[in-house]
Amino acid sequence: MSSETPAPSYFDATLRAYEERLAKALAMGGPAKLSRRKEAGVLNARERIAYLCDPGTFIESGLFGTSGTFPADRDKTPADGKIAGFGKINQREAGLVANDFTVMGSSSGATNGRKIGHMKRVATQRGIPLVFLGESSGARMPDTMGARGMGSLLGNDGMQYQRMREIPWASATLGLSYGSSSWYAALSDFSVMRKGAVLAVSSPLLASLAIGEKVDPEELGGWRLHSEVTGLADMVVDTDEQALDAIKVFLSYLPSHHNEAPPVRAVPAGSGEGMRDIVNLLPPSRTQVYDVRKVVRTLVDKDSFFELKPRFGKVGVTGLARLDGRTVGILANNPLVKGGALDTDACEKFTSFLVLCDSFNIPIVMFVDTPGFVIGTDAERKRAPGKIMNMMNALSLMTVPKLSVILRKTYGQAYLNMGGGRNSDEVAAWPTAEISFMDSRFAVRVVHGLEPGEAGFDEALAQMDRENEVWDAASIFAVQSVIRPHETRDYLIRMLEVHQSRLTKEVGQHLMRAWPTSF
């Protein structure tokens, strides 16, 4: 926008008054609070916006909004504590809401609630992603107190927490986040958290009052809890800048809205250069494990693997990547953890990732090496049948292309959950693949009643191992292709090309767009 000095006019006094109001609105919570943040190495809300957006592209909506509940608060609430507007992130339009904690703890009030509602409406109608930079003390008090406060402040927007995934939502938790900024993190497609931030329903003080014991903020909602136990954080970083960079990278894989295909990037030099040795990433013995992420990183475009929830449900690996410049969603079993046996956390993680990919027209590729599901009393208490079937149902409802590659073993129901049979558009297998209902060392005991060391055990085991080899599945077309490991990247690129959804211009049906993903 032009920053030229205007010509003198009859309205100079009015325009001077405008400049004074503008300076006040931009002053946020005042120099003392802002300098305390600077000393702590934390960006303020406007610095965060400036870092996230391409220079000169941010245009604000609601700059002169203030609290309207109590007249005395009007001068103390620049932008009403939540800065909203539109900016370009890597040349692509986005909507932004940045909470300004220096203004009444960025608490939720009537005016800033209207600003957020406006951002959501515009972003959804115009098809641009929405970014929430969260840091909030929760609902503003005493504004929300009493029956009149509740009636006038909360619940007046019936769409406030509705998620239909017409557009991607990304969220960063960058400080103490209670109430609405936690809700938006939970509803987002991508949630990054800075170490030291806290994401919870309400503050440790309120929680302490409620349960009558001292509550530690980190225990209540710190990064370890949300990256390792709840899975509400897709990524954890050390600084504000890293969190904002992560949002830029996440959005680079996604379309701006659900009615278009994801953007295509140039293929980086060196992509696929490790393919010659890829089979050697598998250990020689089937009793040894390996990190499937090395296989994934070798296969996809160089440095393009963007892992999500790396510390949660670690037996499953999920992440966005590119193959030949095109966005793909990667799901893989990781034998490094629990031998790759799928647990309930991994099922949840896979399910939410399938919802993300299907909602935004991202084809998926599954890499399979799993002995099955973790079973036992603990798994049943964690509702294993429900989690397994949620994932299976999600996979069945997907209308984006889905490919699977069996690297080593795949047994039982997990074979289906990882795309076996007609649960993928194409199933490929390495010659190292084994397919069966269960591991043959257990199956010999069940089928033949033989224990290791007993006469006939070794012969029965060898026979079963032979029957588990991939060739029988290929001969009846249950596996469509058996491929040389070093040709897997070329196979996937070509097969994704074949399966492009041409009839709908690569746009799926989004049958899960309203599914909850942090259930």
Partner: protein, 73 residues
């Protein structure tokens, strides 16, 4: 220096301790190998650190979630 715990993801027995007290590990390095489900499954030092003590010896049984080693990092 923070006190860090390395925990086992699986129930099984300690098959081989592949590190020594005082050894400094990078994030993602293996602390020891557990035998479980007929496989050798590593206990990973997620955040790296220097090993201060082991809580189990080779051959001992362990349960999912137990701390097998204390690190400082």
């Amino acid at each position: 220096m923070a006190r860090l715990e390395a925990k086992t993801d699986v129930t099984g027995s300690v098959w081989k301790i592949t590190t020594v007290v005082g050894q400094t590990l990078a994030p993602g390095d293996t602390v020891m190998l557990i035998e479980s489900m007929k496989m050798e499954i590593p206990v990973i030092a997620e955040d790296g650190g220097t090993i201060k003590e082991f809580r189990f010896a080779e051959g001992e049984s362990i349960t999912e979630g137990e701390v097998v080693a204390i690190l400082e990092g």
